[in-house]
């Protein structure tokens, strides 16, 4: 009887170990920064969804464009109505894959640099993107922060000549995620 109980507990423990291969956050942070002659523009969203699957070596990031907040409300309205057309393209997404080092898959504490390749969709236009990302494992969580640039023209975002000195052609994007085990 004791052996049966121990066997059940062992199987249960192994199931728990197998389950924790997906990590997520619903409160990820993405900022973007536009440096231009007339003014710098900065905005932030703290409602970004990120899911990381260590078993499959996949990552997905989703955000709602209207969740970006600007210091000036007028700027936010122009961003949504004129540039991003968020009524037509409410979401921006990223899907990528990477090779998972064994130690990362086992969630050993430490930092791991992985090369992520995938696709980013902004304003309804999808482009390939590749970048190195550092994942830091500590206390059962995965933290990461990374930067990349987005060319406005690559995603059919039109900047009127009148404001071309207000908005940069390349936008610096910074992402920061604290991922916890995904429990359904």
């Amino acid at each position: 009887m004791r052996i049966k109980i121990l066997a059940c507990l062992f199987v249960f423990a192994m199931m728990q170990e197998a389950v924790a291969q997906r990590y997520f956050t619903r409160d990820g942070e993405i900022k973007f920064f536009s440096e231009a002659p007339l003014e710098n523009i900065e905005a932030k969203s703290a409602k970004v969804l990120c899911i990381l699957d260590l078993a499959k070596g996949q990552v997905a990031v989703d955000l709602l464009v209207k969740s970006f907040e600007f210091p000036k409300k007028l700027m936010q309205e122009h961003f949504n109505e004129n540039y991003m057309e968020s009524h037509e393209f409410p979401k921006s997404t990223f899907k990528g894959s990477f090779d998972v080092p064994k130690a990362l898959e086992d969630m050993e504490d430490g930092s791991y640099e992985v090369q992520v390749s995938g696709e980013i969709t902004i304003h309804g236009v999808t482009k390939p993107i590749n970048m190195p990302i550092e994942l830091t494992v500590a206390d059962g969580m995965i933290n990461t922060s990374f930067d990349f640039t987005v060319k406005v023209a690559d995603h059919d975002i039109e900047i009127p000549n009148l404001v071309v000195d207000n908005i940069a052609e390349e936008i610096l994007v910074s992402a920061k995620f604290a991922l916890e085990p995904y429990k359904r």
């Binding site: 409160d27 968020s86 409410p90």
Partner: protein, 139 residues
Amino acid sequence: MSAKRKVIVAVLIIGLSIASWVYFTQLRTGPSMEKREATARLSAVELYDAFDTDEMAANELYLNQVIEVTGKVSDVKMEADEKAVIALETNGFGVISCTMQDVLSQSGELLVGKEMKIKGECIGLLLDVLLVESIIVEE
């Protein structure tokens, strides 16, 4: 009226017209949430179910619309100098996540477990259904 005066009046009228157009189309921000009318009134459970069942159909009804949602507060996030975020319970995996228009005047802990009616603009579904520029209508 002399010709010169007519020209001055015409220029003033045209100038005012252009200035008004620039103001109303480029410079004026939209009305605050207090002044906006809700196009739908429903419970947090109903709203989440609508998106969970058929996101496209729910977008047709609620995306970019002002909605009044009633539900039980499951969590409140308040950080210094940041807008508060009130979460309303649903029957699904996610919540109705309401980012408030302003900083909350009371402690978030006092609100957890309370029934509340919140009005905000629905911006869509990720894991949660997100409302922005939200205000508390009723506690």
